[in-house]
């Protein structure tokens, strides 16, 4: 379940039209919330999303060229 939550969190910003926050609205945050982080990471995805009290920045970017399924188009 935690893995599913992570995937949804990682991919949610990627959906075109879903975002309403401009990039410069990014705000510093103090660490990753406990429900979204891994306390005892072992894999790559867990390591990069491990719990920490370091300062993070939450950002919901606007990327109009992102595909509807959240994947990247090929480079021009």
């Amino acid at each position: 379940m935690r893995w599913l939550t992570l995937l949804l969190a990682a991919g949610s910003f990627a959906c075109e039209g879903e975002t309403s926050v401009t990039p410069d609205a990014a705000a510093p945050d103090m660490g990753v919330a406990a429900a979204e982080c891994f306390a005892d990471p072992t894999t790559h995805v867990e390591i990069i999303n491990a719990c920490t009290d370091a300062t993070s920045v939450s950002k919901t970017p606007v990327t109009p060229l992102l595909r509807e399924d959240g994947t990247l188009p090929p480079l021009p």
Binding site: L6, A9, A10, F13, A14, T22, P23, D24, A26, A27, P28, D29, V32, E36, C37, P41, T42, H44, V45, I47, I48, N49, A50, T52, D53, A54, T55, S56, V57, S58, K59, P61, V62, T63, P64, L65, L66, L72, L75, P76
Partner: protein
Amino acid sequence: MRTSTAAAAAVALGLACIGPAQAQETACDALENPVYMHVGSTVLPLLRELGRALRDAPDPITLVFVDGRSCAIMDGITSGTPLAVNLTYVPSTAEDAAWTPDMAPRTCAIPDGGLPVDLAHSDIYPESCGAGLELGDVAVFTGPVLPFVFVVPPASSQVAITAEEAYFVWGFGNAGRVAPWTDEQFLFSRPNTSGTKITFGANIGVPAARWKGQQLAKTGDVINAVSSAVNAEAAIGIVGGANYDANRDALKSLAYQAYGQQAAWYPDSTAGGFDKRNVRDGHYLLWGPSVFLARVDGAGAPTNPRVDRVLRMLQSRAVEPDPGFDPTGIIVDEGFIPDCAMQVARDGQAGDLRLYRPEAPCGCFFEARVGGAPACAACEDDGGCADGERCTLGYCEGGE
């Protein structure tokens, strides 16, 4: 060297280091115990500090260096191509007591036919430059880790960039439509053979040859272009973390959110910190080990004993005789992370992370050096540490 100006950095990076006013130019091969180096510009701040210490050491060595681009550098040492431009070196305290590492190094003249490269440095592994590089009797040694950062002018309101945004900004340019980075004349990167650019490209999925924007020859050019951009909001560039640390008054780093991450992170645990904690524990993914290349014997040891000594210092390994200064401390001070302070490792230029436990951890030394409060007991030797711990660089490390 953390608060110097961009102008001073540009000078120190070599942009203005060869002046016609120098009446007497020392011959490079007349310097004391020279090690001729061809290096990426990301390591120049470290070489100036280390170079001064080495020249003042009881067994002095003179680092004689010039910067270039990673792929060309590696091609040069493996092919035996001599250095054909005048080089730079750091004066000893006896030669110039007033010299400091944020000043330009001195220049020296090369003889006819040039000088061989004893020790090369690259920001990337040889395979990242594509096929065709035959190492021969040259071996690859990994050195301290260097973060890389996206930078914007201090006046920019931007604080973070995601990997997806970076993909569109650098891979599509104006057409990427990622505000505010939608004007290619304000996208500042490096030539396609630059290790800095190749490292960024591997992380964001845009090969160096496909980048949009301006290609600037030197790191100092990127620093100057970003810091003086007339449209601060639209400007963005790429630099090595050590170069950023040396120019924090002229640049602002962006937090970076890698593919698959939930948030963006700085290399340090705070925007203004120097602890590199997010690099060390895997939250910040724009980094790579420094790569050094040197000629070796059949056993894999450098054939030049001075090169072996310098390499040992750069790898935070034991050096005999004692140099009389702390090379690992200099490495940390200059924005690099010794391998012994890393908690994660990766394969290749941008491979997945895995947990890593160094043979002789030095995390507590690192934390103390950057002003933190290490969670280890201080020690003078192993006898002062608990079972299973070793006294490394003054701290009991390695316990469970």
